[in-house]
């Protein structure tokens, strides 16, 4: 779950990390009022889930009320790589002496947390990693032990920041680590982390991604979930609790389990077709879930055939079969369905489907033959 910059800054602020005084709004006059309150010069920043907003004209400096109004007017409604700006963040502009980079994420190989700190901030960290890898100081933190201030201090020393920044950096990094762990984040990144001429250290940007699995511990994260970028199909699937990713093809795909769903996309491609989506109905999918999944696929106008690929473990064959039949009764399906059913209670499931088979509902024995049938029906 990726946060917008302003959400990331509010998240940081909860953990005591210094960010610029500012507020988010979707209204021009409100933006002007915020600018007047925080004091000029201000920066007006588009809040979108996509990079490159500066180049697209989504970040502007305003020295007075007229400029603030002009920029807010221009940026709200701006199309940045297909993302329409609905919210802007207005904050007091900062004097910058130096720009650094700091982040925490999980190193899946080491199975430990990885902190990265660099004196070369303000640019993509991938670029620094490629061109000057020695400029990134890394620290591995054992999740069962946590980050000690002593280790943090040694890490900051290794990054060779300006000595003036040491105390401020240690303070912010300790807080950033707390935010990362206690906030159940997948990623916390500050780029740039700035040193002001006055000697203070400060988070000028915020990139935060939160673990959706931890939402039950943080009910307030529902506000972030609501601003995730989703197309219409993805929104409808999300509302039904389905794992769905929209694609461009004509074969609607429903499978159980992420691996099998990915594999289904691969196989549809291999037999010359093009999948319309990834949809994992998960373990324990019952009739309601299957009906919901078919509704979402059916609403996708590009879909010409539907391939249901189920290998039951937790998911039981008879529930899948009942779900398909229930959905066919509930929704006027525009496309024919090809079903491949194996695993737990597959025989029962097939027996339920058998009397209902027609040119709208077909059954195939294998994943490959079912994919070929669905692709043929889609007219690829």
């Amino acid at each position: 779950m990726d946060l917008l910059e302003y959400q990331g800054k509010q998240f940081f602020a909860q953990y005591g990390i210094p960010v610029s005084d500012g507020e988010a709004t979707g209204d021009v006059e409100e933006a002007v009022a915020i600018a007047n309150r925080v004091g000029y010069p201000v920066v007006v920043k588009a809040q979108v889930h996509v990079g490159g907003r500066g180049k697209a004209g989504g970040v502007k400096l305003a020295d007075n009320e007229a400029e603030a109004r002009e920029h807010a007017t221009n940026i709200l409604g701006l199309d940045i790589k297909g993302h329409i700006v609905k919210t802007i963040w207005v904050e007091v502009a900062s004097d910058i002496a130096e720009e650094y980079y700091a982040s925490f994420t999980l190193d899946r190989s080491a199975k430990q947390y990885l902190g990265m700190l660099s004196a070369e901030g303000g640019v993509e960290i991938e670029t620094v990693a490629e061109e000057n890898p020695d400029a990134i100081a890394k620290i591995h933190v054992n999740p069962a032990e946590g980050l000690s201030e002593e280790a943090c201090r040694a890490w900051v020393a290794a990054a060779k920041l300006n000595p003036k920044a040491t105390e401020g950096a240690v303070d912010i990094l300790m807080k950033l680590f707390t935010a990362y762990v206690e906030g159940d984040a997948d990623l916390v990144e500050i780029n740039p982390l700035i040193l002001k001429p006055t000697g203070e250290v400060h988070a000028l940007d915020a990139k935060v991604s939160l673990d959706a699995n931890a939402m039950y511990e943080h009910p307030e994260y529902a506000q972030y979930d609501a601003t995730q970028p989703r197309d219409e199909r993805e929104e409808a699937a999300h509302a039904k609790g389905l794992q769905y990713v929209g694609l461009d093809g004509s074969v609607g795909v429903i499978a159980n389990g992420a691996g099998l769903a990915m594999s289904t996309l691969d196989v549809v491609n291999q037999v010359g077709g093009s999948p319309a989506n990834f949809l994992d109905i998960g373990g324990g999918a019952n009739a309601d879930v299957m009906a919901g999944a078919l509704e979402v696929i059916n609403d996708d106008k590009n879909v010409k055939a539907i391939f249901i690929n189920i290998f039951g473990g937790i998911t039981r064959g008879e529930e899948v079969a009942n779900g398909i039949i229930e959905a066919m009764g509930r929704v006027q399906l525009d496309s024919p369905i090809v079903v491949r059913l194996d695993g737990t209670n597959a025989e029962e499931g097939r027996a339920i489907l058998k009397p209902k088979l027609s040119d709208r509902l077909m059954m195939e024995d294998t994943m490959l033959s079912a994919a070929a049938k669905a692709v043929e029906l889609a007219g690829n």
Binding site: R108, N142, A214, L260, G313
Partner: protein
Amino acid sequence: MSIFVDENTKVIYQGLTGSTGRYYGLLNRDYGTQVVAGTHPKKAGTDVDGIPIFASVADAAEATGATATCIFIPAGGVQGAVLEAAEAGMELVVCITEGVPAHDEANFFNVLRRDFPGTRLLGPNCPGLISPGKANIGITAGHIAKAGGPVGIVSRSGTLTYQALYELQQKDIGVTTCVGIGGDPVPGTSFIDCLEAFEADPETKAVMMIGEIGGSAEEEAADYIKHNMSKPVSSYIAGVTAPAGKKMGHAGAIVSGGQGTAKAKMEALEDAGVRVGQNPTEAGELMAEIVAGL
């Protein structure tokens, strides 16, 4: 032989009293697994279809001599359940539950590594493991696995684990043990742990490895195979056509910053001498060729 479990393994089910735990606990028992106990802090003294319920894993282990547990409880309780099992001296902890927060996983993985080196954790978010004809712990449909070897299977994805078993059964090829390690960012047991165990198991003559996009576990496994394995391996990686930046269901399955692509994984495996199929069926066919040549 099998790896990690056999017909003598006694298993406690944490969450046996819940509907999913009960369903699979009883299915596992019907398969032949020694399901000797369940746990629930408030239901000690009751039973689930004749299987006694104890208040804790320690109590259940003391009464039954069990050395393994299988966890079927909601995500929020998993961290406590895993640590409870480890503290009770369990040698194997199989966690089926999905949706466990990544920080919880990172924490209990490292607590186990530091304080309970004798405990093997499998999962979370995995289908469990099956040594066909001997024991089935988890949610794999037992009838799709043929017993007897010579192939060992290790897989990151649940349903693709079943698919792999099924492909081999269709070709009348038996399996020593099939381990589903799960698709989460911090799996308790890795590909390499399983490859190592299969390499050491005299009855396993070849290994089928099913991976997916995201992370670098397959590349690390390829490196291990290249330098340490004498037994032939066939493989399949799911997600060849997955778009970058989109999480494909599993918390771990995402191609980001050019890392974790199926192509890179397949190349690393091929470079290690692994025969890589383009889909699960092809990986099964390659394994049939390998088995025919043994």
